[in-house]
């Protein structure tokens, strides 16, 4: 029986009522009294030396209040990288300053170098157009191989070869891996590109700076996935203002997918402008600005090798990757291609020996950072593609080969050769479930039917794992993180018994307001309608690290459960006093504190009231009030895993690929709200299919973005997608967090791209086009057709 409330119920999302009726309150909806409007002037060249910026004419234009350039921010700090990744020779990584506004040089198309603030947006735009910038265009470096090879091309004058770091993981294992390759009966090699993506959150970035000269307080309304982290970066690193004098509010946020984790220069600029003008200053990106200036995702070029015996047993794996970081280091850009990618190269398999090399490369393109999946889709894609290629080379069944290389259920906890300890899982179970729900046995009949319509049908598979719930602070500290990655919640029981939960997680589409309330309701036995989830405002919430990396429930939710446990523990003390019983004899169940074995009881509401009106209360030993905060630092990552199957039909005459079936068998640990989990998987798979077939951020050789609008950047639309079959019945609860949850936000985007590509290659082979071993994403009709021709 499906539950109608609490943990495990498919409760309808409460936030959708306000979103669907236009009552959402996004940053762009907020208008402050006396606000002025900012327009940023962005570089039209990918690389150039700024000789002079003449703002005189712009300043004299109607309505103009201020014009600021990079020089005005030169004394401010840079926007830092959150992880230090040393090179394998021990050298520190290269960290060029990322200024609020470009100064000295512009380094990518869209790099902002001036801002105009005016009474109206149109006036600000007009004046931005009147700024005369003398910029000498320099040769742009766009291609990573060229960036590394040509010492004359430098994105940052002080960094030869444009290499940020050259990371080896794990360096001590390298010799053994190389030896295994020398001795291996078979080696499969694949060179592939993990295509650069534009995040395309539905809501473009927006920020309002509001300085109060009366108190000296700054307030920033902004599109952020982690307001406290942004506050820390802006206050401590960039602007040098006391953290307590800055409030960051991320109200309703319309999607982030990673791109709103980071602090961006526009935020500091509107704060500084607000202080200078003593007025609120508002900026809302238009879609073109989003394309040019949001942190992009992926962009790896990888050579992967898999050593096996002739029966397809994995012996060793080796990869070399160039990872594009763009023109500047965004906050997580150094962790994404390393600790979220290299450490995942074991996948769900028992590969005994693995070595990963990643060079992070500066180019004259927009910064690249974490995007839904962040490193793990890149790892999964490489592994699952090379495994498929090996199966074809050795004429082995891709299901059987995967099955026999999977880590077995009795091997947990399992330590991989790339440094992770998987706590639990049952990979054969999800694979079996997939074969059932995707109806593998009916494939041949479906293929024959497609053939009658002149279409080539193919079936592709991927078995994947990810590391979520980032992250144990002491572990990531050793690995170079400059922050902790715990989270926090405050549970405030009001005197009248209803509850406000202040969470460090941030909801920008995930449905936290619904699910978190379900959990608290379940634990405390009070209706979800009496529970409010408060997030996004640093003046209300405790210091948490926000939402990304599928961490909200596993880390933030665990903190919330810990805080609820403290509430119950304190409630027992109060109840023991009121009921004149020993604390150990009090049991809490269904919202009631009772004396075990008796009918003496107090309701949760009575206990709450007593805590705030402590007339009959153990004041000598217990503080009044009922409010608890808990921080939770996870003991390990969580390891969601699963198996995905994709079926495609290929029109060989035009190269067009249609996804006709997609099935997911996932292990997310315990599922709190199955409907929301399904929605997360659907969205993730849609993005994965988008990456596989449609999406690509393409720059030309001069660093101009060719796909700067929806005329050329293809987003997946509903009619590009099939109906999804999603199953999460093969659950192995996480062993180290109180809810037993693993996280589901990124899975779809991680597991799906290789399944799609494997399906297309399968279709082509079944259709007789057996020379095609790989096609780079996105598999556009033109690329698929060309592959067939060659």
């Amino acid at each position: 029986m499906p539950k109608d409330g609490g943990i495990g119920a498919s409760t309808i999302r409460r936030e959708d009522i306000r979103f669907l009726t236009g009552k959402g309150r996004y940053t762009a909806d907020i208008n402050l009294r006396g606000q002025a409007y900012a327009c940023f002037l962005r570089s039209e060249v990918a690389h150039g030396r700024i000789n002079r910026i003449d703002t005189a004419e712009a300043r004299a234009m109607p309505g103009v209040l201020a014009v600021m350039t990079g020089a005005d921010f030169a004394a401010m700090g840079g926007n830092p990288a959150g992880w230090h990744i040393p090179s394998r020779n021990g050298e520190a990584m290269k960290e060029p300053k990322r200024p609020v506004l470009a100064h000295g040089k512009v380094r990518h198309v869209g790099d902002a170098y001036a801002v105009v603030v005016a009474e109206t947006l149109e006036q600000a735009r007009d004046a931005a157009g009147a700024i005369v910038a003398d910029i000498t265009e320099l040769p742009a470096v766009v291609d990573m191989a060229q960036a590394v090879a040509n010492p004359d091309l430098r994105v940052h004058d002080e960094i030869a070869n444009n290499v940020c770091f050259d990371w080896g993981w794990i360096e001590d294992n390298r010799a053994a891996v190389d030896a295994a390759f020398k001795a291996a009966p078979h080696v499969t090699t694949l060179e592939l590109v993990n295509n650069r993506l534009v995040p395309n959150a539905m809501e473009p970035r927006a920020s309002i700076g509001d300085y109060d000269s009366g108190t000296g307080d700054y307030k920033l309304y902004t599109t952020s996935q982690n307001p406290h982290l942004s506050r820390l970066l802006i206050a401590a690193f960039v602007m040098g203002i006391p953290e307590n004098k800055l409030t960051v509010i991320a109200p309703d946020v319309g999607g982030g997918f990673g791109s709103k984790i980071y602090h961006y220069g526009e935020e500091a600029a509107v704060l500084a402008a607000s202080k200078a003008l003593n007025r609120p200053v508002k900026w809302v990106a238009d879609r073109s600005e989003s394309f040019l200036s949001d942190a992009h995702g992926r962009d790896h070029v990888t050579r992967i090798e898999l050593a096996t015996d002739l029966e397809g047993n994995f012996l060793a794996l080796r990869t070399e990757t160039l990872a594009n970081v763009g023109a500047y280091l965004s906050n997580f850009s150094t962790a994404t291609p390393t600790f979220l990618h290299g450490t995942l190269m074991a996948g769900p398999y028992r590969t005994p020996l693995i070595y990963v090399n990643v060079k992070a490369v500066f180019t004259n393109t927009a910064p690249v950072d974490a995007y839904r999946g962040a490193g793990r889709p890149e790892a999964t894609f490489s592994i699952e593609r090379v495994v498929d290629k090996m199966c074809r080379e050795l004429k082995l069944d891709p299901v059987a080969v995967r099955r026999k290389n999977l880590i077995q259920p009795d091997q947990f906890p399992y330590t991989t050769p790339v440094g992770l300890v998987y706590d639990t899982g049952n990979y054969p179970a999800t694979l079996d479930k997939l074969i059932e729900i995707a109806d593998f046995s009916g494939f041949e009949a479906r293929r024959a039917e497609s053939a009658r319509r002149g279409k080539l049908r193919g079936l592709g598979l991927s078995t994947w794992i990810e590391a979520c719930g980032i992250a144990p602070s002491n572990l990531v500290g050793v690995l170079g993180a400059r922050v902790g990655l715990y989270d926090v919640a405050t549970v405030r029981v009001n005197a009248t018994g209803n509850i406000s939960v202040m969470t460090g997680a941030h909801s920008h589409g995930q449905g936290h307001e619904t699910v978190f309330a379900q959990i608290v309701s379940d634990k405390l036995g009070i209706p979800a309608s009496s529970i409010d989830i408060v997030h996004g405002d640093t003046s209300k919430i405790p210091f948490g690290m926000g939402s990304y990396g599928s961490r909200s429930l596993a880390v933030g939710g665990s903190a919330m459960v810990k805080a609820v446990d403290k509430i119950i523990a304190k409630g027992k003390k109060i109840a023991a006093h009121m009921l004149e019983a020993a604390e150990d004899d009090i049991v809490f169940e269904d919202g009631k504190f009772s004396v075990s074995g008796t009918d003496k009881a107090k309701t949760f509401g009575e206990i709450a009231f007593s805590a705030y009106v402590p007339h009959n209360y153990p004041l000598e030993s217990l503080e009044p009030g009922l409010e608890e905060t808990a921080f939770y630092d996870p003991a390990n990552f969580t390891y969601p895993a699963g198996a995905y199957a994709c079926e495609v039909e290929v029109d060989a005459e035009t190269g067009r690929v249609e996804v006709v079936g997609f099935a997911c068998a996932d292990d997310f640990g315990n599922v709190m709200n199955p409907m929301i989990v399904n929605g997360q998987v659907h969205g993730g798979v849609a993005q994965g299919i988008g990456q596989a077939l449609l999406e690509a951020a393409a720059y030309d050789d001069n660093g101009q973005l060719l796909t700067g609008s929806y005329m050329d950047y293809a987003m997946p639309r509903a009619d590009d997608l099939p109906m999804f079959t999603v199953d999460h019945s093969c659950n192995t609860p996480c062993t180290h967090n109180p809810l037993g949850v693993k996280g589901c936000g990124e899975a779809g985007a991680i597991g799906s791209p290789p399944a799609v590509v494997n399906a297309v290659i399968d279709a082509l082979h079944r259709g007789g086009h057996t020379k095609v071993t790989h096609i780079n994403m996105p598999l556009t009709p033109s690329r698929v057709w060309s592959a067939i021709q060659n």
Binding site: E122, S288, T654, G655, L694, Y710, M711, D712, Y713, P781
Partner: protein, 262 residues
Amino acid sequence: MHNFDFVKPSSVADAVRALSAEGAQALSGGQTLLPTMKQRLAAPAVLVSLTGIADTRGVCLDNGALSVGGATAHAVVAQEARKYYPALADLAGGIGDPAVRSRGTIGGSLANNDPSACYPAAVLASGATVITDRRRIAADDFFQGMFATALHDGEIITSVVFPIPEKAAYVKFNQPASRFALTGVFVAKYGSGVRVAVTGASANGVFRWTEAERALSASFTPAAIAGLSLPSDSMIADLHGSAAYRANLARVLTGRGVASAH
């Protein structure tokens, strides 16, 4: 967007007069012009709306041919042309999305002559006549390369007259992002012969594939063109497809058009 004046005349003569003003430009459905203005790539001083002129709207039979008013929205053609010229209705119903089809017009589409637009293929393959406030222009003379037409400054398309074929089809292969025609082929079979027009493919805009027309006039079957190929030298090559790919599409879609003509 920059500021502009707006007028909405109710007769063609008034519209022509209004268009003679300095910096005046015709506005029909606005689906091309308004986005350009919003991006500040165009800044007309006066917009002369054509949608208030009753005789430039709607679909009717005219001496056995189908006449479509210049300011007729795609959605109207998709519905009202169906019983006379189903392939043309199919084409109109496949342009953009419902919002675009409700506003965008045939006159705007032809005047703009986007190399990836759909209507130019129908007009050229049908041997239609473009009628303006001052003259009649044969389809073969109207299209003059990417975004270029025979129209003079301030000249208004008032209607387009399509001879109705025995059979026809428009086969569009979507560019994955914009869903304009990556390549589209309109095949029309008349008593006098077959006409084939290809859009989306050539750097010179819509064109007639005369070799295919000859072969299909002799035998209106996909097999008749199976051995033909189009030279790829003047084809568009971009992110979405190479020149050779577009040449291939034109051939494949022509065959499919013949097979599905109705």
